[in-house]
Subunit: 406 residues, 2 copies
Amino acid sequence: MVQKYGGTSVANADRIRNVAECIAATHSSGCEVVVVVSAMGHTTDDLLHLAREVSDNDHPRELDMLLTAGERVAMALCAMALRDLGVPAVSLTGSQAGILTTAAHGAAEIVGIRSSRVRESLSEGRVVIVAGFQGVDPDSKEVTTLGRGGSDATAVALAADLEADECEIYTDVDGVFTADPRVVPNARKIDEITYEEMLELATGGARVLMPRAVEFGRRYSIPIHVRSSFHGRPGTLVKEDTMEEPIVRGVAHDTSEAKITIHAVPDNPGVAAAIFEPLAEAGVNVDMIVQNVSHDGVTDISFTVPNRQIDLARHVSNDAADDVGALRVDVDDNIAKVSLVGAGMKTESGVAAKMFRVLSSHNINIEMLSTSLIRISCVVRGEEVESAVRGLHEAFAVGSDQETVR
Amino acid sequence: MVQKYGGTSVANADRIRNVAECIAATHSSGCEVVVVVSAMGHTTDDLLHLAREVSDNDHPRELDMLLTAGERVAMALCAMALRDLGVPAVSLTGSQAGILTTAAHGAAEIVGIRSSRVRESLSEGRVVIVAGFQGVDPDSKEVTTLGRGGSDATAVALAADLEADECEIYTDVDGVFTADPRVVPNARKIDEITYEEMLELATGGARVLMPRAVEFGRRYSIPIHVRSSFHGRPGTLVKEDTMEEPIVRGVAHDTSEAKITIHAVPDNPGVAAAIFEPLAEAGVNVDMIVQNVSHDGVTDISFTVPNRQIDLARHVSNDAADDVGALRVDVDDNIAKVSLVGAGMKTESGVAAKMFRVLSSHNINIEMLSTSLIRISCVVRGEEVESAVRGLHEAFAVGSDQETVR
C-alpha cells in the first residue's frame, strides 16, 4: 500500500501525529506501507519567497536544492511521530528512494525507480516515508524536482514499481467533485471515475490530482483513491472502468491561463510550425490552439498559455509573428476555461449543442473552443466563468441520478 | 581558499547577498574558493523546536535528516546570490561534497573526505558552496551531523584535504578575545594564537571556534583565520607558532556545566573505572575530574558534566555509587569554570599561586581545580564567575604589553 499525504495534512505537529496514527493503523493491519509526503503547509511557498528575496533571476538547479529541504523536514518529523507510536519507520529522500528523473530542474519527469533501498526497509518490517516531489538525475547525480503537485506522481510511480494494490492520495478535501464546491455549493463527490476522465478534469483545472500521476496510474493500472486525511470515509476511486458511464462526470474550470492571438497570419504551409516550434523550445506550455478558416490568404491563430509564462510567451510570439509576416500579437489575460468531461460523450451526440445553448442562455460568449472524445472546453470572459460552471452543472444535472442531454 | 560563514552571517537575504559579495571579491582575485555555510540564523533551533513539538523521544537518525535541511536552504540561496553577481557557483550537500563520517548521529566525526566532486567543480572555475555540519556514513549511506559548531570542522577538514593555504572562519565577532567582551569590556582581540592555546580556550568555554576544528587545523597545519563577516579588518590567526608567547593569552569561562560529587567512595583500585566507564558508555561528556586524598578508607570524587546531560549523568552516577558502595550523590548546577590559558605558562612558575591570590582577594572560593601544561581551570560559584574573569584579566594584564606574573 502506498499512501500520499499533502502539505495541508502535515501542516503542523498535531496533524503530523494524526497522520502517523492513520499510517500506524494501516501498518498494524499487516500491510506493507510506503508513505509519500509533501512539504509542510506553505513551506514551498515560503522557500520560493526566500529565493525571490535573494535573487530576481532563475537558478533552476539551486532552486531544486532549496525546495527539496521542504519534504526533508516533513518526512523526518513523520518518521519520528511513527516511531513514537512503536512503528519502525525510516525516512528516505527522493534520491535515496531511487526516484530517477530527467535532468529538467523544476519540471523533471520520473523515468524509472530503483527501489532496492525501499524494498529492503519494507522487508525489515519498516514503514518507509519517502519525500515526494523530488528525485535525482542518474547521469549527473543532481537533485531534481517534479514541479507543483509532483508528490502525487512520486506516489503513483512508487505504487506501480512496488506493484501495490492501490495508491491512496490523502488530501484536505473529500475527493474529486462534480465541480469546484466553492463555485457550485451543491457539487457532489464523485465515487468512481476513469483515468481518462480524471485526466481531462485535471488538465481542465481540477487541482486535486496532478495529470502526470493519473497517467502513471493508467499506464500501470494502479487504482488511485483520492480521500480526506481528516476522516475515514471513502473518497474518489480513479480506475480503468466504472460502474456507470455518465455523459457528464464533472465540470472543470481554470482561470490560470491567458489567451494570445496572432492576427493576419499568412495562410501558408509551415506557418503553424514556425509559431509553435519556438514556443515549445522556450518551454511555454501551450494548451488550446484554435485557427479559423482564412480570408484573403490570412487567418488568425489563438492559443492559451499559463499566466505565469505570459511575458515569455509574448516575447516568443512577437518574434514568430515578425518571422512569418503576421500583422500583430494581442495578449488577453482576463479569460477562463470551462470544460465538460464525461466518458459517456463518446457515444452521445448533442452534448456540445446543449452546452452552447446553456452558455448563450446565460449571455456568455464563447471565444475559443476545443474538444476531445470525452471533453468539451470553452474559453469565456474571466468574470463569466463561475456563472458558466453553475449553469452547466445544473443544466446537465451533473452527479444526480437523472442526467439528461435534452 | 576555504571560507566558512556562520548562521549569523547568512541570517537573511541581505546578509546572504553581502556574503556573496565577499566571496565574489576573493574569486575575482583569481583564488579557487570553497565556501562552507551553516544554517540561516536560528533555523537549527527552530527545527529542533519543531521536532520537540512532534515527539518527546530521541530519534537521532531522523533528527539528522531534519536538521540537514537547514544548511541545504542556506547553501542554495548563497549559490543563487553568487550567480547573480556573475560568479559560477554550485552548492553541494555534505554527502555530495564527500564529507565521510562515523555513524554516530548528532555527534559524528569526520573520518575522511572524498572530494572528487568538489575538485571537479573547482577545476571548472566554479565557487563550491558546501553545507557545513553534515556528512554521510560511507557504510550505511546514512546522513549524519557533526554536532553544534560542526561547520567549523567541515571547513578546516576540507581545507586540509584540498591543501588550502588558509581556512577563514567568518563570524559575527571580530576574532578571538582575551576574555568575553560582554564580561570584560576592555578585553582585546588576539592577533595570533597557537593551536594549543586556542584548543584550551575553546574547551574552557570560548565559543568562537569548535575544538574539533582546531584539532584538524593543528593536525594538518592549516592556519585558521577567525574574522568578522561585517568588515574587512583582520581577525585572529590560529597557527603553529606565534611571534610572542605571553604567559596568559586569554581568560575563558564556562557556565554550561554542572558538578556531580559522589561522597564516601571506598578507596579501592578499580573504583574510578566502575564510576567513569558507565558514564562514558552512556555518552556523558565528563570534563574535569577531581579526587582528593582519602580518609578512613573513603574519598570524595567530583566531576563536571554539561548541564544538558545532568539527568542522564545523575541517573548513571546513582547506579555506579550503589555498585561501589558509596554514600550518596550530590548534583550542583550553580557552578562555573574559569580558565587561564597561555603557552608561556610552560616555562613560567607562580602563575597558579598568583591566580589563587587574585581569586581570594575577591573573596571567591575555589571548589575544584585542574591544570594542563598551558591552562589552569578553577570551578567557582556561578554568581562569582564574572568577577573572577574581570579580576584575573586585570591582574594578569592580559593582552596588554606589560604582562606580569608578580
